[in-house]
C-alpha cells in the first residue's frame, strides 16, 4: 500500500518518522520541536534489536532526520534532494566532531533510487565519517507502515481524500492529464468507446460493490461520505455543450481504463487497490496536476459510481 505522504506537511511527517522510529529503534526516541535543530528531528540512544538487521544491530547515539516533499513523483535522484543532502553533511560532521552521533537515519518520502540514492549515501559516509548511515525512502516507509497499521490510523493515512473546492479548470486539467498518461486509443477500440458512450444502464450500488469486491467501509467512508458531493460538478461539466471536446477525451479515458482494469483485475484483491494503482499511474507522470492530485481519486470514484468502470454484470 502506498500512503499519500505528500499530502501531509513538514511537521506531521517529522512526527510520523519519529513514531516509526519508536517501533524500529525503541520507545526512547526523543523528538525535537520545530526550529533550528542542527540537523536533528529526533534522537535515540542505546542498542536496537533488529535494525538494520538482527545479525549486526546498530548501537550508540542515533540521529534521525526527516525531509518531506509535497511532490508525489519526487525521487532521491532529483537535484533538490542532492542539495538537501549537501546541506545536511556539515551539520552531521559537526555532530560527529562533538561525539553526538554514531548512527544517522535520513527519512524522506521521495522514491529511493538504487543508483543515485546509494551514491548520496556513500557521500554522507565518506564526508562525515558516520559509517552507520542510511537513507530511508518512501518504499521502506510504506513497508514499515504496512507492518504497523496503528501508525496509519494514528496519522489518518488511510483517508484518501481531503475535501477541497473543485473548479471547472481543475476538472478539465484532470481529464487532460488522464488523456496524456493513457496510451493513444487504437482505432479498433473506437467501437468500445461508442458502446460506453451510449450505454445508459446502471446497477444497484450494493450489488456493484459486491461484484467488484469494493469494501463496504471504503464505499461509505470514502465515496459516499467524501467524493460523492463533487460528482454533480463533474456531471455538469461533462453535460455542458462547451466541453464537448473534453467530454470525448473523457470517454476515451474511460474506455481505456475499463480495458486496463479488466486485464489487470486479478493482480488486485479489493477494488480500492485499483483506485490507488490508477491514481499513481496518472499522478506520477504529471507535473500539470500539482495541487489537484487529490481530485484524481474523485474522478475515479465518479467513473465507478456512474458505472463507467467496474463490472456491471
Amino acid at each position: 500500500m502506498d500512503y499519500r505522504l505528500e499530502l501531509l506537511d513538514d511537521s506531521t511527517f517529522e512526527d510520523l518518522v519519529n513514531t516509526i522510529c519508536q517501533k524500529i529503534l525503541g520507545a526512547g526516541v526523543i523528538s525535537f520541536s520545530p526550529g533550528k535543530d542542527g540537523g536533528r528531528d529526533g534522537k535515540f540512544s542505546g542498542t536496537v534489536h533488529n535494525f538494520p538487521n538482527n545479525t549486526i544491530p546498530w548501537s550508540g547515539k542515533f540521529i534521525i532526520q526527516a525531509k518531506w516533499t509535497g511532490e508525489s513523483s519526487a525521487s532521491c535522484s532529483d537535484h533538490d534532494f542532492e542539495k538537501i543532502v549537501n546541506q545536511e553533511i556539515p551539520k552531521i560532521k559537526k555532530l560527529k566532531d562533538a561525539g553526538d552521533i554514531d548512527c544517522y537515519l535520513l527519512f524522506t518520502n521521495r522514491k529511493y533510487t538504487g543508483v543515485k540514492g546509494e551514491q548520496l549515501l556513500k557521500k554522507i559516509v565518506a564526508e562525515t565519517g558516520v559509517e552507520n548511515s542510511v537513507i530511508i525512502g518512501k518504499e521502506t516507509i510504506n513497508n514499515n507502515l504496512n507492518q504497523h497499521k496503528e501508525i496509519v490510523r494514528l496519522f489518518r493515512l488511510d483517508l484518501h481524500h481531503i475535501p477541497f473546492d473543485f473548479s471547472d479548470e481543475e476538472i478539465k486539467n484532470i481529464i487532460l492529464a488522464f488523456k496524456q498518461q493513457i496510451p493513444s486509443i487504437e482505432s479498433d477500440i473506437k467501437a468500445e468507446v461508442d458502446r460506453i458512450k451510449h450505454d445508459f444502464s446502471f446497477i444497484d450500488k450494493k450489488e456493484k460493490n459486491k461484484k467488484n469486491r469494493l469494501g463496504e467501509d471504503y464505499f461509505q467512508n470514502e465515496i459516499a461520505a467524501k467524493t460523492l458531493m463533487d460528482f454533480e460538478k463533474i456531471e455538469r461539466f461533462l453535460e455542458s455543450p462547451q466541453n464537448e471536446e473534453i467530454k470525448d477525451y473523457y470517454y476515451d479515458v474511460v474506455s481505456e481504463l475499463s480495458n486496463q482494469i479488466t486485464i489487470k483485475r486479478d493482480n488486485f484483491d479489493a477494488f480500492e487497490e485499483i483506485f490507488l494503482f490508477i491514481y499513481k499511474m496518472i499522478c506520477d507522470g504529471s507535473k500539470e496536476l500539482k495541487g489537484t492530485k487529490r481530485h484524481v481519486t474523485t474522478f475515479l470514484h465518479y467513473m465507478y459510481y456512474n458505472c463507467e468502470i467496474g463490472l456491471k454484470e
Partner: protein, 78 residues
C-alpha cells in the same frame, strides 16, 4: 452530436433546441438569427447557445427551414 450519450443534458441537446426553433418558426414564420438566438437562450438557458448553430444546420438539412440572405431572416418551410 445529434445522438445523445450518457452525459448529454437533454435541455441543451441539438434535438431539443431544434424542436424549440421549429415551434418558434411555426408561430412567427420568419425571424432573425439574433432574435431567435435570444429566445432560445431566454427559454432554454445560456448553455444552449453552443448548440444553436448545429440545431439550425440540422433543421436546414431536414429541409425544415430556409435562410434569406437579403433580410438575414430564418424562414420556415413546412
Amino acid at each position: 452530436m445529434i445522438r445523445p450519450d450518457r452525459h448529454t443534458n437533454p435541455d441543451f441537446s441539438v434535438i431539443n433546441i431544434s424542436a424549440f426553433i421549429l415551434k418558434q418558426l411555426n408561430a412567427f414564420y420568419a425571424v432573425s438569427y439574433d432574435s431567435l438566438l435570444k429566445r432560445v437562450i431566454d427559454t432554454l438557458g445560456e448553455e444552449s447557445k453552443e448548440n444553436y448553430p448545429y440545431a439550425l444546420n440540422f433543421l436546414f438539412l431536414l429541409g425544415k427551414l430556409n435562410y434569406q440572405q437579403e433580410t438575414e431572416d430564418r424562414k420556415s418551410v413546412v
